[in-house]
Amino acid sequence: MDALLAALAASDPATALRFSRWGYAAVNTGHVLGIALLVGAIAPLDLRLLGAWRSVPLDAVARVAIPVAAAGLALAITSGALLFATRAPEYAAMPVVWAKLALVATGATAALATHLRAGRALHHLSRRARLRQGALSLTCWLGALVAGRMIAFLAG
């Protein structure tokens, strides 16, 4: 594991990014954009699942929110993998990084499971399933955002 992480950090793309001013800034900005799209899209959907904005059809919210959130997640994961690679051994040694990855994995798994079950026709879900998905999703993504931001403040 240690050798793998060291090799990742020593790879050409990771090395280039570690010493590039604007390349690093661009990937960092891409990561922020990914998170903004993901959380900005998923929060209204989760709150709708929890019972807010009942006058707006759930499936209409889902129609807009799901593709935007998915695109944001894809961008955040891609840019996040690159940022991780620049300092792989150090980030892997931080518990907050693993907490963040666990929250992302849980949030993504829950979203995928619900999506496989109901597609964008979320109104088919039971009230209980909607509340569970909304609460779990909101907790995971907000938690991942907080854990992610704390990485910069806890780095040794």
Partner: protein
């Protein structure tokens, strides 16, 4: 229309975020909030180097006889370059003098460099401080 449940949940989430964030902010190494606000000077030998984004880091042994290793945070590549540092300047075995702010907790033995000296030459990382 009333939404008591999501509103309560939103308040609970906000409270949880603040509860998690507040104590952690005190440990911060990002920016200058974790330092004492006053400069000290360290003099020693570089024993380990990890340069690059998002921050460069040196381990500097300031001990006389017995090892006493401090972590010195230097700049990102562009900041170090702007200060006049070139590749190979900050290397293991090099004698260095560093002026900067130490972590508020002295047990951490961590310093954020404002400027550093290799021999007689001064390299200023943060020209607008001090």
């Amino acid at each position: 229309m009333r939404f008591p449940f999501p509103r309560r949940l939103a308040v609970a989430t906000l409270a949880a975020v603040l509860a998690v964030g507040a104590p952690i902010a005190a440990l911060a190494h990002h920016g200058w909030s974790w330092t004492t606000g006053g400069n000290i000077e360290l003099r020693g030998v570089i024993v380990a180097v990890a340069l690059g984004n998002p921050h460069g880091r040196l381990d500097v042994d300031v001990g006389e006889g017995e090892a006493d290793v401090w972590t010195v945070e230097v700049g990102q590549p562009w900041r170090n370059e702007r200060a006049g540092l070139v590749e190979g300047d900050l290397a293991e075995g090099v004698e260095i003098r560093v002026v900067g702010e130490p972590a508020a907790d002295p047990e951490e033995r961590r310093l954020k460099a404002e400027r550093l000296y290799l021999g007689d030459r001064e390299y200023v990382l943060y020209p607008n401080r001090s």
